[in-house]
């Protein structure tokens, strides 16, 4: 199989299996690996569709202040238990036995109903999406940064450094997520950790980022162990480049496809973990909304008011599904050989 080695030592293949080449299509000489990957992705209609779904969800959530201010005229934390505050629930927003009013299907007034504190579910759904996606994105960045730095260092340096970093990875991996969430959540709430003196979105993102980085660092380390034996690394050493320059200038670009594939996976899991951490008091703090807090709050009203969990549940499923399917398409586009191997 012909391979093209770019200046950065990329391993992308320009030799497309026949099944992936459209009839009559020609691949121009010198077409870069990223362009080729984009062409493969473009042909994957399912991945593109779900990528579009994710974009729509993000845009809707970003427009939460517009909906809240100009359409629903109610904030995400505005409570209305007896209906007397805003006089918008006939007769009350929350019944005597904690059953909130259901969807009105009126876009400007409790479109998806109220929760147990009389808050507008639709408004909280959009604001909650902002928070959940923000936590997921920041947690993903933290995870990937930690994983890249420690994974590359462990794989490249080897020896004592590798042993120490491996120990850190193993201990973090083995530590029960639930316990870690409770401990960190309580610590941050009471005495703070460094600059994190109260439970903010950053705190939750940090907890999730720390939990997940071993899952990415270990595969990166494994890949680096193989890459450091390659000729281009020897060549870089011969040129007098230092370890740091080699690790992050020569080896890191070769990990691009691995990193890119992990990003949507970690993002999806981070959003799910945020929902779980909310039960432990280590998630988003009230009155801020997130899909996790909405699920947590709505569990107790399921039999009579399941709209409180249905709405955030559907959004969570749609978001995670679209990220995962798009991520699969991205992986196939970046490394079609994996698809061919599976078929054999």
């Amino acid at each position: 199989m012909a391979t093209t080695t770019s200046e950065t030592g990329s391993q992308f293949s320009t030799d497309l299996p026949a099944a992936l080449v459209h009839e009559g299509e020609e691949v121009a000489a010198g077409t870069g690996p990223w362009r080729l990957a984009w062409r493969r992705l473009r042909r994957n209609k399912t991945a593109l569709f779900f990528g579009g779904v994710f974009v729509v969800i993000v845009v809707l959530c970003l427009l939460a202040p517009v909906y809240s201010h100009d359409v629903a005229h109610i904030g995400p934390a505005t409570q209305n238990i007896t209906g007397s505050n805003l006089n918008t629930c006939p007769p009350t927003c929350v019944g005597p036995t904690d059953i909130p009013v259901g969807p009105s299907w009126n876009i400007s007034k409790y479109f998806l109903g109220a929760d147990s504190l009389g808050r507008d579910v639709a408004v909280r759904l959009l604001y909650g999406g902002r928070n959940s996606l923000e936590i997921g994105a920041v947690a993903t960045i933290i995870t990937m940064l930690l994983a890249m730095i420690l994974g590359i260092a462990a794989g490249f340096l080897g020896g004592v450094a590798d042993n120490i970093i491996n120990l850190i990875l193993d201990v973090t991996w083995a530590f029960p997520v639930v316990l870690l969430g409770i401990v960190l959540g309580t610590l941050i709430a009471t005495s703070g950790i460094g600059p994190l003196h109260s439970t903010t979105l950053m705190s939750t993102a940090l907890i999730i980022g720390v939990v997940y980085f071993p899952y990415v660092a270990k595969p990166i380390r494994a890949q680096v162990l193989s890459l450091r034996q390659r000729e281009f690394v020897d060549a870089a050493r011969q040129q007098g480049l230092g370890n740091v320059r080699i690790m992050f200038g020569e080896i890191l670009p070769n990990l691009a496809s691995t990193i890119v594939v992990f990003i949507p996976l970690i993002l999806a899991n981070a959003i799910l973990l945020e929902a779980a951490l909310t039960y432990l008091g280590a998630g988003v703090q009230p009155p801020n909304a997130s899909w996790g807090t909405m699920l947590s709050d709505g569990i107790s009203t399921i039999p009579a008011a399941f709209h409180n969990v249905l709405a955030p549940g559907i959004m969570l499923v749609l978001t995670v599904l679209s990220i995962n399917i798009f991520g699969d398409g991205l992986r196939d586009a970046l490394d079609p050989r994996s698809k061919v191997r599976i078929a054999h």
Partner: protein, 567 residues
């Protein structure tokens, strides 16, 4: 004691729970809580024999009485391990009365309240047939201290003479307890007069057990006891069976009925499913310490009204503590603003209508509750007066002061504190909420270094004596550096002196000082050291098979298993 209900809700339960979804009608009026008195006279004649299924949402901490300190465990251990004293098997205030248990009469109190003496009944045997002797009490007390039982540090070790030295390993036995196996006499010397000691002797942890029982928690092989029931087939955190004690009837202890049915207890954390099982008669009892989801209440009330009641057991107070040592609540106007403005009816809605709005710290069945007295600040409908509260905050000079509201994660406690936070902002403070995992909540607040300003608290009586509330929660002398329960750091000299004086009055003479306790409770309400927002009512829900009218809702222990019978 704190009621630790550990509910684990998985996100995927969202989808599983859809399978349990049932259409329910909304309720237009809240259920009025019942303070049940004696069993209904319309109850069908009791029938002995048969078995029933009892569903726990939370497992007892341990089946070993020397370890367990939960309502779930006490509920069964009370009828397996009888102490020198016990409680009447009756509803309402009658059930708060201490009666002789294994002793022939209530202990004689002498030496200014420092010496308790009683004589063991003759012919007592454990549920394995082994005879009971007086020295078994010493062994039982030593074991409870050594394990240690959760309440021993408060009710036993510092109270009984020689117990501290024994606990520290400086003595081989408790010098303050002397027994005579020939006569059955038991004499207990205290370090100082301690009025509720009769109640302490009634704890299941002091239910007599045979000597030689290992000094360690035995959750799967608990020792035999002397009681109407004995426990078998224990599968930890899953199930156990309570069968009638074959030796009990022969002992014929007055006031303590024999068991009539076998109880198959199962632990299932899916509270919704438990409630539906009882509704559909596939199980017989829903544990009173679990919370029926508000969304199921209308359905249960409409379909099972003859076998469902929300009962005020008269021993639980839900309140918001206000730290009177630190700003802003070291100011009386600021505290008064909270009590004046808080809408207890809204809190009740969030609690699925199971709260009785209230203002006094002592709940109804604890002697000293100011029955019939008017609340100093709340309006009669308990809906709160926001305008007056705002004026009080302005007058206090604390407007805009930052306040942290502490809360647990579980529903509805988190919702209560979310509402309370919004209320504080509404009346002029700058409040934010901090949520702590349930498992850590009280331990975190109990660290005095934290100086929590305000937050959720509750207390379920260990025994019906005001000392159990004031001595632990509001006495300045009870403030501890860790495991503190006086979260508001209340340290009022008048409160401290009254608690010290009244706590020495023996349980048998409690009624003689009820008036003084009532005055103290009114004083505390006037000072707004705490913002009481309700007394909890508990669900007593059983299947159609049960002779519901004959069941007893014991105020100390909930369901009285000796009253269970089939129609």
């Amino acid at each position: 004691m704190r009621k630790y209900n550990r509910s684990l809700w998985a996100v995927m339960a969202v989808f599983a729970a859809f399978a349990l979804a049932a259409c329910g009608s909304s309720s237009s009026s809240p259920t009025s809580a019942t303070s049940a008195t004696t069993p209904s006279s319309s109850a069908a004649p009791a029938k002995s024999g048969g078995s029933v299924t009892f569903l726990y949402g939370v497992a007892p901490q341990s089946m070993d009485p020397g370890m367990d300190y939960t309502t779930q465990g006490a509920e069964i251990n009370w009828v397996v391990y009888t102490g020198l004293t016990t409680y009447a098997h009756a509803n309402g205030t009658a059930g708060t009365k201490v009666i002789p248990g294994l002793c022939t009469a209530l202990p004689t109190v002498t030496d200014g309240g420092k010496t308790y003496t009683c004589t063991l009944r003759k012919g007592l045997v454990f549920s394995n047939g082994q005879p009971v002797v007086a020295s078994d009490f010493t062994y039982t007390l030593e074991r409870a201290i050594k394990i240690p039982w959760g309440g021993s540090g408060e009710f036993m070790t510092p109270v009984v003479a020689g117990a501290t030295a024994y606990s520290n390993g400086k003595a081989s036995t408790i010098s303050g307890v002397t027994t005579d196996n020939a006569t059955g006499q038991i004499t207990i010397h205290l370090t100082a007069p301690y009025g509720p000691f009769d109640n302490v002797l009634a704890f299941p942890a002091l239910g007599l057990i045979p000597p030689g029982t290992p000094f360690k928690n035995e959750p799967t092989n608990p020792p035999p006891g002397v009681g109407p029931y004995k426990v078998t087939n224990i599968v930890p955190n899953t199930s156990f069976t309570a069968v009638p004690n074959p030796y009990w009837a022969k002992m014929d202890i007055p006031g303590i009925p024999a068991a009539k049915v076998t109880v198959n207890a199962k632990i299932s954390s899916n509270i919704d499913a438990n409630a539906l099982s009882v509704l559909n008669n596939s199980a017989d009892f829903f544990d009173w310490a679990d919370v029926i989801p508000g969304s199921l209440l209308p359905q249960i009330k409409s379909q099972a009204s003859s076998r469902f009641k929300l009962v005020d057991l008269g021993g639980t107070t839900y309140y918001i503590f206000l730290n009177s040592q630190h700003k802003p609540f070291n100011n009386l106007d600021a505290r008064e603003a909270v009590v004046t403005g808080l809408n207890q009816q809204a809190m009740n809605r969030l609690g699925s209508g199971t709260l009785i709005p209230a203002c006094f710290f002592l709940p109804p069945y604890v002697p000293g509750h100011p029955t019939g007295a008017s609340c100093p600040y709340n309006n009669s409908s308990f809906t709160g007066n926001i305008a007056k509260a705002q004026a009080l905050v302005k007058a206090s000079g604390m407007e805009g002061y930052p306040v942290t509201v502490w809360s647990e994660t579980r529903s509805p406690r988190q919702q209560w504190m979310t509402y309370y936070t919004q209320f504080l902002n509404q009346i002029g403070f700058k409040a934010t909420q901090k949520v702590i995992a349930d498992a850590n909540y009280f331990t975190t607040l109990g660290d005095l270094k934290l100086h929590p300003q305000t937050g959720f608290a509750d207390w379920n009586m260990d025994f019906p004596n005001p000392v159990d509330f004031y001595g632990v929660l509001l006495d300045g002398n009870s403030i501890l550096p860790t495991n503190n329960e006086n979260f508001g750091e209340t340290n009022d000299p008048y409160v401290n002196s009254q608690v010290a004086k009244l706590s020495a009055v023996p349980t048998a003479d409690l009624n003689s000082v009820a008036g003084e306790w009532q005055s103290l409770d009114k004083y505390v309400a006037q000072k707004a050291y705490v913002a009481v927002f309700g007394y909890e009512t508990f669900p007593f829900f059983a299947s159609d098979r049960i002779n519901y009218g004959a069941t007893v809702f014991q105020p100390e222990y909930g369901w009285d298993w000796t009253s269970f019978s089939l129609k």
